[in-house]
Symmetry: C2
Subunit: 379 residues, 2 copies
């Protein structure tokens, strides 16, 4: 079922407006137009969406979580079946994270050393050891079009010393990751810039990664509680440390305004659980902000969630119906709301790409951020 | 969005094989080919299915629950919005039960009399009173193509005396229901035969209902714990009490073998939560029985649930993937499994209708019941 194209993994920069970039990433499973948002498919499913729903939204790439997939269904099965594309019958590109972030945030860490991390599963407590080599091997088994290096992500706030140690270990692991990566046409590996909110550490991290040489560069260690202002402050300088001819990926980000602000600062790729997680709790992204469909003011509201949206939910159902389904705890509420939010995010990326192509993105971003000033309409 | 056709509510008998009947019910929202299975849309949603999924399965009518809809979203909203078709954007026929069964099984009954039932909501404890007149009025507001009379359903086992009292009260309520029903082209009202497992009570019930005159006749008080053998024993005689030129509906039934056995005995319509509820707990109906996808033997099984099935899940996903999703508690598991089961049920009804048309249903039923002898393959 899964098709592969036999071309080199590459990034084409199509147009630039100030720091904002309109590009295209070519992978073994097809092209990704950037700036791109990747829905998160943690456990081999973008929660509450079928593959055709994901495709209908326009998403060209999804993200899988190495940590979750390693624990369940497990790598023996993945090897047997032939990778994640085949397992979930998804024939477009997949990016997998390295497991580093989840190992630190979800599991019970047993021991961390330059060799790797020993930890206990959050599902059943069983012990695992993940090294850079192991993470890359797992991502190879998963068949990821884009493999991420194994890194150490510090919490926010971190002291300079903590950030420096983790960044240096991440560079060590970046070297090991690159060595372990098996080069194949159409498959790439991304480095991850660390260094918390310290510009000099970020610059050193970027330089060392560039020396090793990667197919793309991610910015890690953000969206960990620092807030949008602090994140934008870091994004004001980190992209300048990165090469023009490689895609830049801001991990785990974010809200629509985060994305617009990051594109403005030169970022090309994003992933976040916000659209699906929000959908499951009754929050819908609409043209002028966010609404909480549980609010009683929607009980008799016969309008769609967003009358400018072309998703299945907006074309077929009213806010009143979604209010009812959400209040009643119906699965269909999670399905329709998640689908709408993913569609909204892809609409946003389409608008962003078009604006850059037309040289109107700076104005678009200003208007968008203005329109979102009251982003939480009723939460 | 909802279309109406302006014809009389009627039943056409197309062909008969022994007691089995192939027919068509015409309603304000279109035709229903019988024997028909109606997916249950309790709270204005067939759980975990979108409307297009329901239609793609071939289902031509769904059932809504008056009791649940009365409590949530409530009749003020239903009136405001203009009925259930519009509320959930379903443009095909809807049958609503009268609420009688759920009032007795779910709520805390306060008082039951010839006038009606006073009870407390199972959601928030608030008090309600439902009479036959009220039930019919609610179903009118819902815009049901097929309204059911308000009846009293006794538990199984019931003494002769209990069954007689409830049957007689149901006849009283049948009269009141018929009087309260507003006749409109394309909309019908069904009587409900009661009398538990007592043939003489069933016969009296049927006769009295026929005297009142209904557009169809349901068989109530079955699938309440009596088992298939006892149910078939009742179905051996009840359909003979009913007119040939009206549809017959066996309420709340059932497993595939129940349906085949009931069609063999002259029943035309069915509803049941089994396909959707089973789907949410990991059970899938397949050509030779039922499988529990949680069973570890499916962990590496790359075959579809049922290789003769044309549903989205079977065309796109493996048992191994569904096993994983179910074990991980993913919403997509409920979506795919429920959709498969509803599709299976509609396939079964298509096969039944075709077999009757071709005069081969007796043989089909014998083969089917034989194939289902080990129905629970691994539960």
């Amino acid at each position: 079922m899964t098709k592969e194209i036999n071309s080199e993994f590459c990034f084409k920069l199509k147009s630039v407006e100030n720091k904002a970039r309109r590009g295209e990433v070519l992978t073994a499973h097809g092209a990704i137009q950037t700036p791109a948002f990747m829905p998160v498919g943690t456990a081999a499913t973008v929660k509450a969406l079928r593959n055709d729903d994901i495709k209908n939204s326009g998403a060209e790439i999804i993200l899988g979580n190495t940590y979750h997939l390693m624990l369940r269904p497990g790598m023996d099965l993945m090897k047997e079946i032939g990778g994640l594309h085949k397992f979930m019958n998804w024939d477009r590109p997949i990016l997998t994270d390295s497991g580093g972030f989840q190992v630190m945030s979800l599991s019970k860490i047993r021991k961390i050393s330059d060799a790797g991390v020993e930890f206990s599963s959050h599902i059943d407590g069983s012990k695992y050891f993940v090294s850079p080599e192991k993470s890359i091997e797992i991502q190879h088994i998963l068949g990821s079009d884009i493999t991420m290096i194994f890194d150490e992500c510090v919490q926010f706030p971190a002291t300079y010393e903590q950030a420096k140690i983790a960044m240096e270990r991440s560079i060590l692991w970046a070297n090991k990751s690159k060595e372990a990566f098996v080069k194949r046409a159409g498959y790439g590996i991304f480095g991850i810039v660390q260094g918390s909110t310290f510009a000099d550490l970020r610059e050193i991290s970027a330089q060392k990664l560039i020396e090793i040489g990667f197919d793309g560069y991610a910015i890690g260690g953000l969206a960990v509680g620092e807030g949008q202002k602090e994140m934008f402050a870091v994004l004001d300088y980190v992209p300048d440390f990165l090469p023009q001819n490689r895609p830049r990926y801001l991990m785990g980000v974010g809200k629509p305004s985060d994305i617009v602000g990051a594109v403005l600062r030169g970022v090309d790729m994003f992933d976040c659980v916000i659209p699906t997680r929000s959908g499951r709790t009754g929050q819908a992204f609409v043209r002028d902000g966010v609404i909480n469909i549980r609010n009683s003011k929607y009980r008799q509201d016969e309008k769609p969630l967003d009358d400018k949206c072309g998703c299945f939910a907006c074309k077929n159902h009213s806010r009143a119906y979604l209010h009812h389904l959400t209040k009643a705890g119906e699965i269909l509420a999670s399905m329709l709301m998640s689908q709408h939010n993913i569609f909204y995010y892809q609409d946003l990326m389409r608008d962003i790409r078009k604006a850059i192509e037309e040289g109107k993105f700076t104005q678009f971003a200003a208007d968008f951020l203005q329109s979102q000033s009251g982003a939480s309409l009723d939460i």
